[in-house]
């Protein structure tokens, strides 16, 4: 599951990746014509909308890709960098950049592209941007107020607008296609003749078609999490699902034996977990099962993961999801914590045992009844795990 940095690709190797991504980035921008300021400012005067076409197509492609990969569980969207929203500086900074765009004819990325193929104005633009950053750095005490004002957190636009992600992505695709169509009309009018390269109906209809199909599939199909939740919402299905179980006696024995391979996955609410928890237990929600952090944790070899909740069914629902997600060594506590309390913690020895074996069990339970509360008391402070992976730091 993405992002691959830092687990699969280390931070040092990431710099090599950066170099190659940069090479591809520079190559594509140059091939698109972003090395000439005349082409870059064309959209502001209506004679060349290349920038809008490239930019919007790229944005929409990446956006649909992110939605689709998140949807099908290939990318943990909670970990990717989302630019923060500082309302005032976003708008003011953007406005200043717009002014710089029409005066300078480049933006920072494209000025590097122009400079690389010998555009002197590209080099001068880069020099200018150094001065601009220097001014910002020196005037930072004055600008800090507006720089940090209007902080909204890290929202994504569909959240700000209060609509679903799929609907937003869908709308943006339509806006993009509409903009392509309208700007081609403007461009033909300004130039007095149509440019055959700029009306490649086949290509963009094809790409839009694919995009719409993916978008539509994300729109109609429930996402991976939802699909799993739907599967386990049928109690009969869950009850008949074959899973290995662990009896309260075995669990008690392993706890008293301080079994290093035992791990209890407690799927009750965190509040209930805080009130009462067994040693070696972790508090998890079914949502956590889909996160990269917990995937790492649950995949540790050799551990037996015993799912518990008050009742068996709730625990089994989570355990079924974990099993379907491909986690191994999953067990279910027979009868849930209710049974565990009845058999062990609140055990009352019946007057008669039917046979020797039962008498042994009773003796064991008596012992466990005394020991386990001590273990619980000793382990009060452990069990809540903190998230280790953080959002990637990005941005300019």
């Amino acid at each position: 599951m993405g992002p691959l940095v830092p687990d699969i690709i280390g931070n040092e190797l990431n710099f090599v990746v950066a170099l190659f991504i940069g090479i591809a980035f520079g190559f594509i921008l140059e091939q698109a014509g972003f090395s000439t300021s005349k082409k870059l400012v064309g959209l502001f005067y209506g004679y060349d909308f290349t920038v809008l076409r490239v930019f919007f197509t790229a944005g929409v492609t990446a956006m649909i890709g992110v939605v689709a990969m998140g949807h099908f569980g290939l990318l943990d969207v909670n970990l990717i960098y989302v630019n923060p929203t500082f309302l005032h500086s976003a708008l003011l900074g953007g406005f200043i950049m717009g002014l710089g765009f029409v005066i300078g004819g480049y933006c920072p990325g494209t000025s590097f592209v122009g400079a690389a193929i010998g555009k002197i104005d590209g080099w001068i633009f880069i020099a200018g941007s150094f001065i601009g950053v220097l001014i910002f750095a020196e005037a930072y005490p004055l600008l800090e107020g507006v720089y940090k004002a209007g902080f909204w957190g890290y929202p994504r636009l569909f959240e700000t607008l209060g609509i679903s992600q799929s609907l937003f992505a869908f709308l943006l695709v339509f806006v993009a296609v509409g903009a392509f169509w309208a700007t081609t009309l403007i461009e033909n009018k300004v130039n007095g003749k149509p440019n055959p390269q700029f009306s490649p109906v086949r290509i963009y209809l094809g790409l839009t078609g694919i995009a719409l199909l993916i978008g539509l599939s994300a729109f109609i199909l429930p996402d991976r999490q939802e699909a799993f939740h739907n599967t386990v919402s049928d109690p009969a299905f869950v009850q008949n699902y074959p899973l290995k179980e662990m009896s309260p006696d075995e669990l008690a024995f392993r706890l008293m034996d301080n079994d290093k391979n035992l791990r209890i996955i407690d799927v009750r609410s965190p509040a209930e977990f805080e009130k009462f928890k067994l040693p070696k237990s972790l508090s998890l929600t079914t949502k956590n099962l889909f996160e990269k952090d917990f995937a790492k944790l649950l995949n540790l070899n050799g551990k037996i993961n015993v799912f518990v909740a008050d009742d068996e069914l709730t625990a089994k629902q989570a355990a079924v999801i974990a099993d379907k997600l491909g986690y191994v060594d999953i067990r279910l506590l027979t009868g849930g914590l209710q049974q565990f309390r009845k058999d062990i913690l609140n055990f009352t020895k019946p007057d008669t045992a039917l046979n020797r074996r039962e008498a042994d069990t009773f003796r064991f339970r008596e012992r466990a009844k005394n020991q386990i509360p001590i273990l619980i008391e000793q382990n009060k402070e452990t069990g809540t795990i903190k998230k280790t992976s953080k959002r990637v730091i990005g941005g300019c």
Binding site: I9, G22, L29, N83, I103, K119, Y147
Partner: protein, 171 residues
């Protein structure tokens, strides 16, 4: 030899989008450009006047965030790649030549001043807006960041608002 035609913009955009998606998938972050200028500037200031870099808030914060190695930054490596990639593209498409490109209606000096001033404003604005057309607008759109999309709208809105006053430089 004549330069090769530019790539179809939709196809180029599609490739650029796939590249951005790949970047997000591998690294969890987007593309960028202006951040490299910032890194290089901080490194430069630190070399020239270490005392100043150690005391002024901006540099101090940046150096702390980057373990005192401002050039060991993802965007610096990425921008070095951009220079190489664009050069290679110019090479294969016969577009390598040293020129100062400007509209025939303006003097080269006007273009020089324009490029310098434009770069200055873009550099300043990109710091304020936490990213430029690549880091804030394009990458922001890819992840649907509210801030990124606002910055994008402000960049293009601002450019359209001011375009009329600088039309003589281009048309």
């Amino acid at each position: 030899m004549n330069p090769t035609k530019y790539m179809n913009p939709y196809l180029a955009g599609f490739f650029l989008g796939l590249l951005l998606l790949l970047t997000i998938y591998i690294t969890g972050r987007g593309l960028g450009a202006s951040g490299a200028v910032k890194s290089a500037l901080v490194a430069g200031v630190e070399t020239v006047t270490p005392g100043h870099a150690g005391s002024a808030t901006f540099y101090k914060e940046y150096l702390t965030e980057h373990d005192n190695a401002p050039l060991k930054n993802w965007l610096v490596f990425e921008v070095i790649g951009v220079l190489i990639g664009a050069f290679l593209s110019g090479l294969v498409s016969n577009r390598l030549n040293l020129t100062l490109e400007h509209s025939p209606k303006i003097k080269p000096r006007t273009r020089v001043i324009g490029a310098l001033l434009g770069g200055l404003l873009f550099g300043l604005g990109a710091q304020l807006g936490r990213g430029c057309t690549s880091g804030a607008a394009l990458s922001g759109m890819g992840v649907m960041s509210t801030g990124g999309i606002f910055t994008m709208l402000a960049i293009f809105g601002g450019a359209y608002a001011f375009a009329y006053f600088f039309r003589k430089m281009w048309i």
